[in-house]
Every structure is written in C-alpha cells, then in structure tokens.
C-alpha cells in the first residue's frame, strides 16, 4: 500500500513538473513559432512527460494488487489498476487538450511560419512510447488529438479546390483512423485467444462504428437539418416581431423540441423523432389556435398557415431522414459483421495480418456492396425521393414567408425577378425568330437580285436598294448572337452571319 502511495506521489509530481514546463512553453509559444522550435520543444516536453507517465504507470501496474483496496491517498484514487488507468487517461487527455488549446492559438501565425505540417507530425510521433502495454489506446489518443489539429489547419491553400480536397482527405483519414480503432479493439480483445472467431464478433462496438458511418455519409453534421432549424428559428423570430405575442410561445416550443431531436442517439432516433414531431406539432397547434381565430383573412393568417404547414413538413423530413439513417446504419453494421466473421475465420485458419490496409481494403469492398445493395432498393429510392421533395417544399415555404415579410419594402423580390427573366427569355426568343426571318428574306432577295441582274442589268439598282432595307434592320436588331474574331474583337451579327 505504501509502495502504491509513493508511486502515486511520484505521478502527482510528474504532473506538476509537466504543468510548470508547460506554462513556460505557453508563454513563449507565439513568439518562437516562426522557427518551429516551439513545436519541437513542446513536443519534447510532452513526450518526456508522457514517457515518465508511462514508466510510472507501468511500475505501478506491475506492483499493484488488483484485489487490494486502495488507501486514502486521494479521494479520486480508484480501487484497481483498470479504473486508475482511466483516471490517468482522463488527466492525460485534459493535458493534451491544454496543449492543443495553446497550439490552436499559435495556428494564426501558421502561414508565416517556417515550420511545416510534416515537422509537426514527426515531432508528435509517439514512437517513444510504442513499447507501452497500452499502445493501442495511446496511439488512438494521440491520433485523435492529431486529427483535431489537422482539421483546424488554416484554409490557406491556393484554391478552393485544394482546400476542399484537403478537407476531404482529412475527413476520410479520420474515418480510416476510426476504423483502425474499431479494428484494433477487436484485435486486442481477440489476442487472448486468436483461434476464437467469436471473439472478433463479440468485440465489435456498434456505437463506435456508427460514428464511422456518420462521417462517411455526412450524418454527423446533419447540415441540412441544422440549416433548416436555423432558418426556421430566424423566421420565427421575424414572425414574432411583426405579428403578436402568441408567436413567442410558438418560437420557444419549436426551438426546444427540434434542437433536442437532432442530437438523438441513432438507435432511438426514429422514436424520438416521432415524439419530437408530435410534441412540436401539438405545441404549434395549441399555440397558434387563438391567433388563427383572431386574425382576419389577411397576409398574417396566410403566413401563419404556411408556417404551420412548414413545421409539419419539417417533422416529416426529420422522421424520414431518421428512417433513412436507420437503414444506413443497419447496412453498415451488417457489412461489418460479415467482415468480422470472415476475418475471424482467417485468424482461426492461422492467417497472418501483414497490414491494416488488408483489412481496410476488405472493409471498403464489403461496404461498397452493402450500400449499393441498399441504394438499389425501392424503399431507399422512395425515402430519398420523399426527402428531396420535402426539402424543396420546406425551402419553398421559407421563401414564400420571406417574400411576404419583405413585400412592404421597396426591393425586388425573387418572384419579381422571375417575371423579368421570363420577359427577357421571351423577348430574346422573339428577336431571334425575327432575325432568322429577316435573314431568310435577305437571302431570298439577294437571290432575286442576282437572278434579275443576270437577266436584265437595268433592274439591278432598284432591287439592290430594296434589299438593303431589311439588311439594315437586321443589323439594328441582331443583338442575340456575336461572332467573335480571333483577335478578341467582336461584331454583332445574326446567329448565322459570318463576320
């Protein structure tokens, strides 16, 4: 017991030293960023601290008796190495978070720094503690922090395409790393008996895997839903400002219920979406009922009706969206199960894994088939179609509401512009038709002139004068097409005229 206590004291000492070093580093972080030294120093300090932690913990693990009750060293001290390790990991995480925050502050000067991302990555290479007995956890912890940093790299790449590509590469690397984590856990759990294929399956973590699927298909962001909710909230605010106090209740009810349902767990998503929708809808109806009765048939009433209908559509959208996600999770989970069974069998047969890439390639192939299978079903197609329809209906409703609110102001609305576009389209078409008629007429007259002059030179002058008139008109009205000369100068001509 005493021995454990001294190890813990040693650990606390380590923490304190680390934080002291850290404080000093943080103070100079910005100023030294340019030379890239801070990265190096910071990383060295971190790694030194981590190595000490590892050493301490390894010693403690090797000496501590899991069956011995801990003493009163500290109120947070736990009763066995496993729990103790969790605490240690939490502390480690918070320290890394602290490092991370400082790093983020320095990111602003990244573009002017000579330090490269690669230097940073090398500096952070956790190879110094790869001999740890908990390598997988350590490595994943390192990677999580690393990916956070990579995600926050400045959008300083040359073009939007490059920025998007890097964003996509980062996102997909995260998926790769998450998959690695899932796989590593399964592998680790199966190590005690590699011949037992069942252990592979038992070690599968569906919740962790869900986050992989979320990332792959963008469900983690739920951007559309968030966007809709944001617009919905904004719209409600405008509504409240310009109508009456009933809307205040409506706004609160709407915001509270909808924001909750976005964050629902996948497994409960369907039910919670239904519940959220019901609550939302009931609240809307009860809140707005007095308003409907009081209002005269007017813009306000129409506005309220559209809003009410829109809320219903949003609920429907969320419901169908959760149904679609549910199918996706099922397909992904089934694919992973199939894959883990195959892998388990390989392990049982004595197959030697040479690289994670092997597993990854298999995973891609199995998932491709699983999702392609899902996407080709009638149910998926119908759901996707319904979602597109609802999405455009809701957007149209927003647009109508926005236009109603903007109507009193002296600005051109989208519907006004659509009328202008239509008029423009029709006029251009008409001009083009007239041009063609004129050109045909001109050609016909020229032919007549040529024929007549060949037969009787005296009428040539008279016909030539007549033929010039429509040609002049043609030049005046031919505004639709342009013949562009190679030197960049252009002459306005009819579509069939060569300059």
């Amino acid at each position: 017991m005493e021995e454990s206590k001294s190890v813990l004291n040693s650990w606390v000492e380590n923490q304190r030293d680390m934080m002291k070093k850290w404080q000093g580093i943080s103070e100079n972080f910005q100023s030294q960023m340019a030379g890239g030294q801070v990265l190096q120093k910071g990383t060295e300090a971190y790694q030194e601290w981590l190595a000490n932690q590892q050493k301490t913990m390894n010693e403690w693990f090797s000496k501590a008796n899991p069956n011995t009750t801990s003493d009163n060293t500290t109120s947070n001290t736990t009763h066995n190495p496993s729990d103790y390790f969790k605490n240690w990991m939490n502390t480690q995480n918070s320290t890394i978070e602290s490092w991370n925050r400082n790093f983020q502050q320095a990111m602003a000067s990244w573009n002017n720094s000579s330090a490269t991302a690669e230097q940073f990555a090398k500096a952070w290479n956790p190879s110094t503690y790869q001999q740890s007995g908990n390598m997988v956890s350590d490595m994943m912890n390192w990677n999580t922090q690393f990916m956070k940093n990579m995600n926050s790299f400045p959008n300083g790449l040359g073009t939007s395409t490059l920025n998007n590509i890097f964003g996509n590469v980062t996102k997909n690397t995260e998926i790769y790393q998450k998959l690695y984590s899932t796989w590593a856990e399964m592998t680790k759990n199966a190590q005690s008996n590699l011949n037992d294929a069942e252990k592979w399956n038992a070690a599968f973590n569906p919740e962790q895997y869900k986050s992989i699927i979320d990332k792959m298909f963008g469900f983690d962001a739920m951007e559309n839903a968030r966007h809709l909710m944001a617009e919905y909230s904004k719209n409600m605010e405008s509504f409240r400002n310009q109508s009456n106090t009933f809307a205040d209740t409506f706004l609160k009810a709407g915001q509270w219920n909808t924001s909750g349902s976005i964050q629902d767990n996948a497994l409960n998503m369907q039910n919670s979406a239904i519940d959220a929708y019901k609550t939302l809808y009931n609240n809307v109806r009860s809140s707005m009922a007095p308003a409907f009765k009081l209002m005269n048939p007017s813009k306000e009433q129409e506005q309220t009706a559209i809003t009410s209908s829109m809320v219903e559509k949003i609920g429907d959208f969320m419901l169908k969206s959760s149904q679609l996600q549910f199918h996706m999770y099922n397909a992904g989970t089934e694919a992973m199960k199939t894959l883990s069974q195959d892998m388990g069998q390989k392990v049982k047969d004595g197959y030697e894994f040479k690289s994670f890439q092997e597993f990854y390639n298999e995973w891609v192939s199995v998932n491709d088939k699983a999702f392609a299978g899902l996407f080709s079903t009638d149910e998926y197609s119908k759901l996707q179609g319904d979602l597109i329809n609802l999405d455009t209906e809701i957007r149209s409703d927003f647009e109508k509401l926005n236009e109603m609110m903007l109507e009193p102001f002296p600005i051109a609305l989208r519907k006004d512009l659509d009328e202008v576009y239509l008029t423009n389209y029709e006029l251009r078409k008409r001009v083009r038709g007239l041009e063609k008629k004129i050109e045909a007429l001109e050609n016909s007259m020229n032919r007549n002139v040529n024929t007549a002059s060949a037969q009787n030179p005296q009428v040539h002058t008279e016909l030539q004068t007549q033929s010039n008139s429509p040609a002049g008109l043609a030049n005046a009205t031919a505004t639709t097409a342009t013949h562009v000369t190679p030197n960049g100068l252009s002459n306005k001509k009819g579509p069939n005229n060569k300059a």
């Binding site: 940073f120 990555a121 990579m150 998926i175 792959m216 891609v364 179609g385 659509d418 060569k498």
Partner: protein, 353 residues
Amino acid sequence: MESKMNITALMEEAVGISMRLAKGYDTLKNLDEIDVAISPKNQVWKDGKISLSHYTRDSKASIETPVLVIYALVNRQDMMDLQPDRSYIRNLLNLGADIYIADWGYPTRADKYVTMDDYITQYIDDMVEFIKKDKGVEKVNLMGVCQGGTFCTIYSAINPDKVKNLITMVTPIDFNTTDGLLFRWSRDMDVDKVVDYYGSVPGQFLNDGFALLRPMGKQTKFMSVLNMIDDHDKLMNFLRMEHWIEDSPAQAGECYRKFIKDLYQQNKLIKGELEINGKKVSLRNISMPLLNIYAEEDNLVPPSATSPLNDHVGTSDKTLYKFKGGHIGVFVGSRSQKELAPSVAQWLSERDK
C-alpha cells in the same frame, strides 16, 4: 493453428497515415494552379452565356468535315481535354480532325426558362449553321457526349440533312433500365418541386447523387491521395480530376424538367413520343452513319441505356463500339488515348467523302 500479429507494426502503419496527411498539407500548400483544358482554341461564336470554340491546328485537317463536340450540361467539357497526355481532343486533333466545341457556360436562375428544345433547335442549330458557313460545307460531324449525345441524337433525327456522321459517346437513349441507380432514383423524384424551387438546378444537387453511385468511392479516392503525395505528376492528375468534378454548372430549370420527365421518367424518345417544338421525334430519321460508343463498366449510363440506339435508327451504317472502362475512362483512361481516339478518327476518315 496459432496466428501471429505484429501490433507495433500495425500501429505504425496507422500512424504513418497521419504523417502522410501532414505531408499532404505541405504539398498542397505549395501548389498554385490546377490547369485543365489547355489545348489552344479560339472562341468563334457567342450567344449570351453559350459559346462555340474552334481548336487551332498547325496543319490542314486530314478529316475535312468539321466535328462539332456537344458535351452534357452536367459538369464541363474540360474533361475531354483534361491534360496534355490525357486529352481525347488533342488526340483527335493529332489524328487529323478539325474540332469545334460547345461551351454551355454557367446558367443561373436567370436562365431557368431555357428549354431542352432551345438547346437543340436553337443553340446547336446555330452552331451547326455557323460552322457550315465558316467552313463552307453542307454538313458537319456531330459528336455528342452523355446528355449532349442525347441532344445530338435528337438534333440528327430532326435535321438529318445537316449531319454527315453522328457519334454518340456514353449516351442515354433507353431510360427504361434498372441497371443504373440514377434511372431508378429519378422515378421517385418530383422534378417539378425541384425546378420550381431552384429555378436552375445546382450542380452540387446532381453531384450529391453521383457520389452515391459508388458508396465507398469518396473514401477510397481521398485515401489514395495520401499514397501519391510524393508523386507530383500523379497528384496533379488527381487534382485536375477533382477540379473538374467541383466545376459543376447548374442546369437550366425547364430543360432539366423536360429531360427528367420526358426521358428519365417516361422514356419518350425511344417510344417515338418525344416532342420538340411541338413535333414528334423519330429515331428512324437518323439516316447518317452512326458510331455509338458505350462503356462496359459505366455506372452512370449503363450499357443497357446506351446500346439500344442502334436498334432504332434508320441508317444501315451503324457501329456499336464497346469500350472497356467506365464513364469517365472513355475520355481520360489510357485505353481511350491508345485505342478509342484512333478508332474514332479512322471511322470518321472512312466516311469523310
């Protein structure tokens, strides 16, 4: 049997990915420009946002009848001239073709009323007339790609007297297929709602659908970048392709409405029920030689949607060309450069007189 696993080596592999990601950032940071479609050409005709360009040649074209290339309204025609060593256009130029190419521009909401009929009977016809006069020829060769191929097919059926030879590439004609997911999904989409809201349908809306055709495609694609980060040429090839994918113009609303409703949903063209400017289009009117190129592994426009054209045209000079590859491979794949372009040039040469 006892299995072996070197956990440290496996971990290093995963960490290595992060290292390459960091290196990738540095590499991308040092890149400035992604150049595509650099074969020299001059814009020779323009109508609003739509234009026609003519590729310059150092020597006289050995294939005298000019070729008008009509690309789809989806994405940009740059795909056909992606980079010097992967340019279908450059290959055809080197093989003696005289090439004009349509550029549909970037439609906005202001172009929402432009119809499919306008694209075919107005813009394509104006371009054909321009080329006829420019080159002093009676007919032109039409080469249509994907949706552009459908337009060219319809145009040729309406104006057989203006088209010397028709080449269709990965072109949807029979939309009543269950092989392609786009064909399946389009039946459950209310196109009226989409067009009524968007006006002109955003390129991103279409790209989202295309991305799902290969569910794991994005994952493998972006992970593959990390393996090419040291190879500048390979990386640039990848970036050019991505640039092309991102460069997605919107589709003029009314055109999109008709294309989805009449073709994807009701398959009117092959049934002889499609009307353009109030007149029914008959594929039997296609009396000029036809070269119909389809890609064996095309998941956007599957062979079952493409190859039936040859069964419905009036001409007896019709060739069905099977390309071993996918929808995009037709233009940028190495087989395209080595085999397809020479075959097309030869086919045109044989029918040039």
